[in-house]
Amino acid sequence: MYPPNFNLLTPKSLEEALEMLAKYGSESKLLAGGQSLIPLLKLRLTKPKYIIYLGKLRELSYVEERADYIAVGALTTHFEIERSEILASKCPLLSEVASKIGDLQVRNMGTIGGSLAHADPAADYPAALTALEAEVVIRSLKETRIVKVSDLIKGVYTTDLRPDEMIVEVRVPRLGGRVGTAYEKLAFRATDYAIVGVAAVLELDQEGRARRVRLGLTGVSDKPIRPRGVEEELEGKLVNEDLIVKASKKASEGLNPPSDIRASSEYRRAMAEVLAKRALLRAFKATSM
């Protein structure tokens, strides 16, 4: 398949990339790992005049511990996230999510910034980053702003990003205390997008009461969803398996997931409950580990 003509720009630094964005804005597209943009180009579904290739910006590929958050550079690949020792010990949810994206080839090329900017409604990161209440750092030549992931994603392939902006970093708050996390993904094939994906973060106090419960659902709406009903059902209560089973039934409250050739909306609703339960049960187990 043959993409249409475009001009390829290869900035050597972030500043240069931002200058190009400022200049070409909506006529341009950023190319990071190319796992979404390249197929779209080959299918001629997008025809940018300029492609700004970010592959030389190695400074945007990192995982770092900072005072109250962990910083992940926008160009960090899924594979690097999956294998990061910092994340494995401080935020295993993100490593787990990364390990369940696509296949090895995709994980070797795809980046966290690229995935978030593409905003596929069935992508894996948004579920976890919503549950983690993570933020992204967005830059343009003029401005740096910090936006919650839940506010970044506006809808199907739609974000809060302006044409001259790019995501440069993802900030995941540090989790403290007795915390367990899990990501449950249902896909018919190993390499597929999620039919439904549920990320869970469960924080208990010393008595075993839920201090904070956060869930993120993907695949069930035009953007990641936090099922507040489930969170509220658990918060402040002594957590046990029965309570989780009961609370999970609220995961589909208010959901109106899409139907497609793979599965109906109703199936996705049912699976949201099943996966919420599984994710919470596993997160609960992890709190005592």
Binding site: M1, Y2, N5, L186, R189
Partner: protein, 784 residues
Amino acid sequence: MEASRRYIGARVKRKEDPRFITGRGRYVDDIQMPGMLYAAFLRASYAHAKIKSIDVSRAERIPGVVGVFTGDYFKGKVAPLMTAWALTGADLKPIKWPVVAYDKVRFTGDIVAVVVAEDPYVAYDALEAIDVEYEPLPVVVNVEEAVKPGSPQLHDEAPGNVAFTWRLVGGESFDEVSRKAGRTTSFRLVNHRLIPSAMETRGAVALYNRWTGELTLWVTSQNPHVHRLIVSSVLGIPEHRLRVIAPDVGGGFGSKIPVYPGEVIVSRLAMDLGRPIKWVETRRENFIGTHHGRDHVQYVDVAFTEKGEVLGIRVRALANMGAYLTTAAPGVPTILFGTMLSGPYKIKSVDVEVRGVLTNTTPVDAYRGAGRPEATYLLERAMDIVARELGMDPAVVRRRNLIEKAPYTAVTGLIYDSGSYLEVFEKALAMAGYDEWREIQAKARAEGRLIGIGISSYIEMCGLAPSRIARATGFGMGLWESVTLRVHPTGKVTVLTGSHPHGQGEETSFAMIVADELGIPIEDVDVVHGDTSQTPFGMGTYGSRTLPVGGGAVALAARRIKDKARKIAAALLEAREEDITFSGGKFYVVGHPEKSITFQDIALAAYTADKLPPGLEPGLEAVVFYDPENFTFPYGTHVCVVEIDRETFKPKILRYVAVDDAGVIVNPLLAEGQVHGGVIQGLAQALYEYAVYDESGNLLSAGFNDYMIPTAVDVPNVESYFVETPSPHNPLGAKGIGETGTIASTPAIVNAVLDALAHLGVKHIDMPLTPYRIWLALKEKGVI
């Protein structure tokens, strides 16, 4: 002979592997020529429409565009494509497929314009600059709709969209056996549409030399000589001036048998423009423009006794042929389906009628198994349905019905060659631990777990075919195979085969046969295929025919060489021919082991030619055209154990055991590979793959995102075992192994999944059995 076998039966690694694994194969798209142009095709925007006008002026003005050609250009120059399998006695309609549509498009893969440009990027840019005005017509994609009165009509030649009606009645009448049997059951089965999805998409490069009048066509083909015959006739050029080369071909699964518009278009334009032209399908084009497989709706009646004996099968089937009849298409849902409907069972009556129905979809033709998977799925579902109705174990029902031993004449008229069907069945059950699994299943059910066990016993008709039978069915050619076996003066051998391996590994297995027959190292034998200027006219590779028929020809040719070599040996050793014995690559005088001569010395003597016996021609070469006396019939039993997740309803295969009798196994490594690949391909139909059209005739599953081919992570370990009963029908005793897995696995897996759900009241779910469809069936039963 047996004692001197070094290679046959050994796990010899493929000679092809180094070049394929390192990416050094040479495929059509690897061919580059100075001055080469690139063609791109504009495909129809509608599945059914009249073409009112085409404006190519904007496209023509794009720099780098050499020309834009529409249907009117080709109309008088190139004959339309027609099927080569003109079924006899089936009222087959003369359906014509213009290589470029000029009045009407009938599916979204129809080509409406061709751009030729200096590079492919420009060609695809230019496609977007062509303006076509259509008058949309009503669309029909579903066979049950297409045969209803008032349905949109595709071809004037085929009223009611019926391209042919084929019937076969074998044995007693169905009504008679159902009276005797006492019980009948009826069901409707959908054997859904699949997309072959070979790793290499199709393509062609054409080069015309106007001074010699020779046209060379590199094309992705499973049968280059058939391509040559048909393309030369469609173009109206002499057959001997067309050279067809199918270089390395990256898989076909049947989809590279037919002649398609693409190769004809680039051939014609290469002649007209005087420059070489390349066209290679994009993956999306491959989904839409390369033929699909299966797609039947079957209405089945089964007559059976209280004891579980199945006496009769009556089938009325609608086969979706798509928009046109392609090269082998009519034979697939008829000859290759209907004659197999008694399977490995002692069924006394088969009555089958198949209507080939035209719809606004991609044409349907042979796809790995071709007709036989559709028959096996039907029968194996029937066996389980009968068992369920009688409250019997499906294994017991099969045991009651299986033929014990071959040779056996089936009611459909086929004479099964060799084997012990019941014994192989029992072996498969024992190896899989069938009885133990039934116990595990019972315990699991008590715990609320969903475990199911599925069996599939199959037989298939391979080694196509005796020419007299092929011709009697209306096939356009005989179905023999050819070889030229050339021994060079140093004793090295070149095998020029009419078969066309495209992933099956015959460069290795044919070399093994020759090496064993002549007692020489495998390194001394090279196999050449795919070039009509080098190889004798041959029929190609499909229908698991290459080893039994092509390999049979190779074995016969090697034996002919050996006969001549023996004569030469007798002369050189000054002994009588009948006193010469052959072993380990040497000819000996009986009783005088010191008097010997090597095969290599004989080869040299054949060319120095001064010491040949009187009347013997110099040289050492054999040409064999081998026409088998009958088909071969691989058979076997596969057992699958599956567990379904109680909440997501995702099936997981716990065990998969395949016991196959494909006759003599030449190379177990390659044979197991065929079983593994075949089983996975059949599993894909059972659980994953599904071609979906919307009502406007758009293929929704036109990419690997939506057309779900399972990955290595999704598939089970396949345990493959062989029983080797030689087929008496060919010189090797081989039966063919390319399709057994695909034929057997689909019903084994579906039966297993449905067995897991049996106690919940689910009788049947149409494939693919995705978690969603299983969930839906349970929902409908009110179980969840």
